[in-house]
Amino acid sequence: MADITFTLPDLGEGLLDATVLEWLVAPGDFVERGAAMVEVETTKSTVELPSPRTGVIAALHVDEGGVAEVGSPLVSFAADDDQAGIVGTVPADEVPVRRVRLTIPED
């Protein structure tokens, strides 16, 4: 269950870090890509960062009030190894139900 970690994206204008004002998601939440995820403050302005991924939040790496560095971990999503392909589902390894019995041959 290797999580997928996203760093604080480059906020432009040479900014190196930002203060986390408020998380709009919590670990365990299912979030769609693009939904509002976290509010951060830079020296110049506040920025509402959208979720970079559709999935379940695994961990928030900077607490509210904490300083996040551009390029260092900000949020992790749970990513089960068995990621479905572009279509369809991942087949479950079910134990098959059997009804037919066999008889041992004489030879």
């Binding site: 693009g34 572009i86 279509v87 009804r99 037919v100």
Partner: protein, 341 residues
């Protein structure tokens, strides 16, 4: 032919319903009600504008797997349409002839040839109907599309080649897909009329489709319409656009929403809150109806594994069916379905 206010309002209602259904489909996939879905968010104007222009008495539409908006515009049975995404029946459970809407087709470009063929039939029978083939910038690279356009050109066939250039074919951007940068530009090579239109202006799409319909009905032959739009959502509910494009790009397009654009024009033309509220209410009712239909949708009866392979089934196939359905090891709820004729 200017689009009057009533038509614009009808187009708005159809787009609001399509947007609500499209969003609910992703929710239903997350909830496991359907295994997968291909969202069309952002392309409502291109689909409603073209689908709503068709004359259900004589025209025929050929969709791929992402034209739910066209199905809404043409009044197709939506529970039957969503049966395809529900995994009940690949082509959907609606009646294609009654709906004038060919079965859902998962391999793109193939149905473009079918639209051309239908148009050939319409011309041979001296009808005034027109077929409309849906394909995207991705499918425009398939040989089938080029062959269809050439055939239509040779015979001046009454078909509209409607390309929703939505910027992406799964992970490939249009500039890596469409050499020369324009699908419509190729029409000249086949002697066809062509228009590149703002696919996010539903009135422009509606009027361009009507122009092409008039041309075809009056013997002027085929038209290539390239509706420039944008696939705001992922290719499918298990796609991760983060691997090939930025959120900034998606959100800048999302801000230029085709539904809001028409809302602005309707509001300026005097539409009041009551109108907008009724559009939202209709959409909610349709979503509830479709959702309930899919939640209650039962598996297809086993006999349907065999029933539609041929129009006149071979004896061997019937034997295969009867042998399987009457097998002891099928659990009793199936065994009772043993065929009876």
């Amino acid at each position: 032919m200017k689009t009057d206010d009533d038509t614009a309002r009808r187009l708005y209602r159809l787009m609001v319903t399509t947007r609500a259904l499209d969003a609910e489909a992703t929710v239903m996939q997350r909830q496991g009600i359907i295994p997968g879905y291909a969202p069309l968010k952002g392309q409502e104007a291109a689909q409603i504008g073209s689908g709503a222009a068709l004359d259900l008495a004589r025209d025929f539409a050929f969709p791929t797997y992402r034209e739910m908006g066209v199905a809404v515009a043409m009044g197709v049975d939506l529970i039957g349409y969503f049966a395809s995404h529900h995994g009940s029946w690949h082509g959907g459970l609606y009646d294609p002839l009654a709906s004038r809407f060919a079965p859902i087709n998962a391999v793109v470009a193939g149905s473009v040839l079918h639209a051309m063929g239908w148009a050939k039939g319409e011309k041979l029978s001296h009808g005034t109907g027109v077929s409309l083939a849906y394909f995207g910038d991705g499918a425009s690279s398939q040989g089938d599309v080029h062959e269809a356009m050439n055939f239509a050109g040779v015979d001046d066939l009454p078909v509209i080649f409607f390309c929703q250039n939505n910027g992406w074919a799964i992970s490939l951007p249009t500039e890596r897909q469409v050499a020369g940068g324009s699908v419509a530009a190729r029409a000249a090579g086949y002697g066809l009329a062509a228009e590149v239109i703002d696919g996010n202006d539903v009135v422009e799409v509606f009027e361009a489709t009507n122009r092409a319909l008039q041309r075809a009905r009056s013997g002027g032959g085929a038209t290539v319409i390239e509706a420039m739009t944008y696939r705001v959502g992922p290719h499918s509910t298990s796609d991760d656009p983060g691997r090939y494009r930025s959120i900034g790009e998606e959100q800048s397009w999302a801000l230029l929403d085709p539904i809001d654009r028409l809302a602005q024009q309707l509001r300026a033309a005097g539409a009041d809150d009551a109108f907008f509220e009724s559009a939202r209410t209709d959409a909610r009712e349709t979503v509830e109806t479709v959702r309930t239909g899919l939640v209650d949708m039962t598996d297809r009866p086993l006999t349907e594994l065999f029933d539609f392979v041929f129009t006149n089934p071979t004896p061997r196939l019937l034997e295969q069916r009867d042998a399987y359905l009457s097998n002891a090891y099928l659990s009793n709820e199936y065994a009772s379905e043993a065929t009876h004729g």
